[in-house]
């Protein structure tokens, strides 16, 4: 019973968070003609391309919390 109420609380929190995201998103009113700066590559998330991906691959393999963002590629980082 205790675990069920805990699950229900988690589900309610998740639903509340999703509603908050949608509500917060709807408040944003940037019109298409105002997106000159947002369209700059330096303002675009993930615009670093393959070079940034390789940089992240090498650096995160030397840390204990690598991964968690994807499953591509194998290798145990052995030796």
């Amino acid at each position: 019973m205790g675990s069920r109420s805990s699950s229900e609380r988690s589900a309610t929190s998740l639903l509340f968070a999703l509603l908050l995201v949608v509500a917060a998103s709807a408040c944003s009113t940037v019109r298409p003609e105002e997106k000159e700066f947002l369209a700059q590559p330096s303002m675009t998330f993930g615009s670093g391309g393959e070079e940034a991906a390789q940089e992240e691959h090498v650096i995160s393999n030397r840390e204990g919390s690598y991964g968690g963002g994807g499953v591509s590629g194998g290798g145990c980082g052995c030796n």
């Binding site: 298409p32 590559p41 330096s42 391309g49 090498v58 840390e63 194998g74 980082g77």
Partner: protein, 409 residues
């Protein structure tokens, strides 16, 4: 190593041939085809231990009738170095490092993906095949994306599934972990009778929310969880347990959680963008980490962009990490992995990208666009509790350099 370099050259050549083949096939019906090739060199050394990796890659992608996108890619890791085979073995304070064993390996990754785009939505599926002498992997990812509210909001959901196999020394059944022996080399992996293949299953869930809040400000929140089940240690590494050494023994199950928040602010008087990001990570091995990064990306003149960044990372150790299992055991698990000990790191670096200017015909030579990218990073690690016997980790600095070329057809 000579053999690895030859295979590496052949792999790169195949990647470039595949690139031109796809360009040839896609060009008649496509609005845009992009192809890129990069090479990254990473090196750390000091006191007898070293590690170096060369990572070449080739990527090509095309869009057919603005609806279907196709991607092909190849990358490899040519790695070599010297590492300690038995962590904390007795025999003085220098033996472990001066007797470090040399090793090298070659990993191939081939990936292919297809995507479907609507006006406000897209769906992408990718498959990646990875292989090295002691490791095999298959991974599938599916990602859905939707743009809402005048494209000011992008929501993304992704799922990934991985099936990996790790080579290890064949151990007698029901053998206690403290009696298991380490894998001496990758010779005979996946073939010989004295080798066994251990499974590792991965599932990744990811959700992203990118939001434009103002004409000069945007944020991105990414949440991810990963469930791993199977062999997660290093089969080559053994740990001294007081009376004997045994192959390191990690828990078979691990669940990772991470949250990443990024922000971009355009500062018009400087014609540049301030980029901030923070990441919090926690897993069921009790490893907690935080990452903070600040970067400045400057438009210097038409086509030239420079990015400077600083990154700080700090983590706790896992609940079963000990620097001396003979004196301070941590239950049934033991590890010789320095990356599971409490540690921190700094990265300082920069990136320069130059898009060559187009001529009067709108072309850059044969291409619709051509860019050159160069990256350099300096890394500094601090292992607060990890020692090889009585010696601190000697190879605690690294450098990374990348050169990339990108073309549009």
């Amino acid at each position: 190593m000579q053999l690895s370099q030859e295979r590496w050259r052949r792999g790169w050549l195949r990647g470039i041939v595949a690139t031109f083949a796809l360009v040839g096939l896609a060009s008649p019906v496509s609005a845009q085809v992009t192809a890129s090739t990069t090479a990254t060199y990473y090196r750390e050394n000091g006191g007898g231990l070293n590690h170096q990796a060369i990572t070449p890659s080739v990527r090509v992608g095309g869009v057919i009738r603005d609806v279907v996108s196709i991607r092909l890619g190849w990358d490899a890791d040519v790695v070599s170095g010297a590492s300690v085979a038995v962590v904390d073995a007795p025999g003085g304070d220098v033996d472990a490092i001066t007797s470090a064993t040399k090793w090298s390996d070659f990993r191939n990754n081939v990936s292919g993906g297809i995507g479907i785009r609507g006006e406000f939505t897209s769906l992408d599926v990718t498959y990646t095949w990875g292989r090295e002498s002691d490791y095999r992997s298959h991974a599938f990812t599916i990602t859905g994306r939707a743009e809402l509210f005048d494209r000011n909001t992008t929501l993304e959901l992704g799922y990934g599934r991985g099936f990996d196999q790790v080579c290890s020394l064949s151990q007698p059944r029901a053998q206690e972990p403290v009696d298991r022996q380490r894998l001496p080399s990758s010779d005979g992996c996946f073939d010989a009778d004295d080798r066994e293949s251990l499974d590792l299953s991965l599932q990744t869930f990811r959700a992203g929310w990118t939001q434009a809040w103002a004409p000069i400000f945007a944020t991105q929140l990414t949440l991810s969880a990963q469930v791993l089940n199977g062999f997660q240690g290093n089969p080559y590494r053994a740990v001294w347990l007081g009376r004997a050494a045994a192959q390191e023994n990690h828990p078979e199950n691990r669940v990772r959680y991470s949250a990443n928040l990024g922000a971009r602010l355009w500062i018009q008087p400087l014609r540049g963008a301030l980029q901030l990001s923070g990441r919090v990570y926690r897993d069921t091995w009790d490893l907690l980490s935080v990452t903070a990064e600040v970067a400045w990306e400057q438009n210097l003149w038409d086509g030239m962009r420079v990015r400077l960044r600083g990154r700080y990372y700090n983590q706790s150790g896992t609940h079963f990490f000990s620097d001396d299992y003979g004196r301070a055991p941590r239950g049934q698990y033991f590890t010789g992995d320095r990356e599971l000990s409490p540690m921190s790191s700094w990265v300082m670096g920069g990136r320069v990208r130059y898009d060559l200017p187009a001529g009067d015909d709108g072309k850059v030579g044969l291409f619709d666009g051509f860019a050159i990218v160069a990256v350099f990073d300096f890394l500094k690690f601090d292992f607060r509790e990890f020692r090889y016997g009585r010696r601190e980790v000697p190879n605690d600095t690294g450098m990374l350099a990348t050169l990339g070329l990108e073309a549009e057809f």
